[in-house]
């Protein structure tokens, strides 16, 4: 298991070398979107409207941060559970999104999309919202302000700690439970 430092926008050659279990320190710009924002983004795609950010090479962080205290760019900002975005993710990957950040399992359709379009699913530590907030140096709402915590934010991150949970080669890092499901 290796450790890589990557900077956005991510390129296919960055992602093809990543294997499950690798640690990535991510730098650059990422965009927040969770349930309600995903619905709006896909509605915009349906209506051929311009999206609030460039999808090509983008990293989407599934998070709804708590309000920023004075003197800080953002409040607590850990990942939300990813499966709720599974119905939207393959479409976004087909349009150039390179990675998502969340916690928890992804569907077979998402795993296939990661292989087909060269993408990666990163895990961040759920419930470590105060700690992860320290790696966010700037935050700005760029769309859907009325959604409050679910608005799309442009974040600048420095050495944001991530684990490769699903790589572009069809592998998954989660432990298989000792149970016949």
């Amino acid at each position: 298991m290796a450790t890589y430092t990557l900077t956005t926008p991510l390129r296919d050659e960055d992602l093809l070398k990543l294997k499950v279990g690798d640690v990535v320190k991510l730098n650059g710009t990422i965009y927040t979107a969770r349930d309600a924002a995903h619905k709006r983004l896909c509605d915009q795609l349906d209506n051929n409207e311009k999206l609030p950010f460039e999808l090509q090479g983008a990293v989407i962080y599934y998070v709804g941060p708590s309000p920023a205290p004075e003197g800080r760019p953002i409040g607590a900002a850990g990942p939300t559970t990813s499966y709720r975005m599974d119905s939207y993710a393959p479409r976004l990957h087909s349009l150039g999104v390179k990675a998502s950040i969340g916690k928890g399992k992804r569907s077979a359709a998402v795993r296939e999309a990661l292989q087909k379009h060269v993408g990666v699913y990163f895990g961040a530590t759920g419930g470590a919202g105060a700690l992860l907030s320290q790696c966010i140096t700037a935050a700005e709402v760029i769309a859907f302000d009325d959604l409050g915590p679910e608005a799309v934010r442009k974040l600048t991150v420095k050495d944001f700690p991530l684990l490769v949970v699903n790589d572009a080669h069809g592998n998954e890092q989660y432990a298989k439970p000792n149970y016949d499901l």
């Binding site: 309000p67 205290p69 409040g75 850990g78 499966y83 919202g129 409050g148």
Partner: protein, 278 residues
């Protein structure tokens, strides 16, 4: 009859709401430390170390432990000899709203279909039990959505009994896998009616980690379930390890002769609970 002023209740609830979001209870912190000592896998140790560091940072920085500061859930024990000067549920809801605003906590409630945010985290969920005495105890839980989504209830047949209960609970946790932010705390409600079992499961989560049910038979069932869940090997954040759950809590009460209601309420490791007694 003791009279309690609305303002005293309000101030007490604002306080516990703001504190719960930032201070991980000692029993949970201690359980995470014990798990860290017991884990041998690097990823499990790394995750547990991060969670303890996060708890320290939240306490000192004033940031919430987790961005999901949850639904404001309250279990109230209202002494039969207490007179509340006002509408208790309205006082608690108002105080919860103020605590979320002043504490810079995330407002996470919305219309179930339009998904429009209510804007102030209302309404609070308030359960009231009348108990003997002249005290008012208000217990608050900031309940996150990710773990709540992994919760389930079912109506088993009486013939399924304990084996059926164990199968349902363990299978649920196996299916939930990494989603509810393990290591989890599992609340199990057995009996009552269709509506009561989930409330029992949630009530169970208020009992400190490591404290067994006072009934020795139920205490043994808690230990059996905890061992079975930890045998799953899901581990912290689902990356493998010995600690899938920190504890299992069971609350039980009689049910209809035709029924065996069962509910599993999953709590993430960020078990934010705080109480005030007036």
């Amino acid at each position: 009859m003791k009279s309690i002023k609305a303002k005293d209740i309000h101030d007490g609830v604002v306080g516990i709401v703001m504190q719960a979001a930032r201070y991980l209870p000692d029993d949970v912190r201690s359980a995470l430390k014990t798990s860290l000592e017991n884990e041998t896998s690097d990823s499990a140790r790394e995750i547990l170390g991060q969670l303890l560091e996060n708890a320290d940072l939240a306490a000192t920085s004033g940031l919430p432990l987790c961005q999901d500061t949850g639904v404001g859930v309250f279990f109230v024990e209202l002494g039969a000899d207490v007179h509340v000067e006002g509408n208790l549920v309205e006082i608690i809801n108002g105080a919860m709203v103020e605590g979320y605003e002043k504490g810079l906590l995330r407002k996470s409630l919305c219309h179930p279909l339009t998904r429009k945010n209510t804007g102030d985290n209302s309404p609070a969920v308030v359960h009231v039990d009348i108990v003997p005495g002249d005290k008012l105890k208000i217990k608050h839980m900031a309940k996150g959505g990710g773990s709540e989504n992994m919760s389930r209830c079912t109506m088993l047949t009486p013939a399924q009994g304990w084996a059926g209960i164990k199968e349902f609970v363990v299978r649920r946790m196996a299916e939930a896998g990494p989603n509810p932010c393990p290591p989890t705390i599992v609340g199990v409600g057995i009996g009552g009616t269709f509506d009561v079992a989930p409330a029992l499961a949630k009530k169970a989560l208020f009992r400190p980690v490591g404290e067994r049910n006072a009934d020795p038979e139920i205490a043994a069932m808690e230990e059996e379930l905890l061992a079975a869940i930890n045998e799953l090997g899901i581990g912290p954040m689902g990356l493998g390890g010995r600690t899938t759950s920190l504890d299992v809590k069971i609350e039980m009460r009689p049910c209809h002769i035709a029924s065996l209601p069962l509910a599993v309420n999953v709590q993430c490791h960020s078990s934010r609970i705080k109480e005030v007694v007036l």
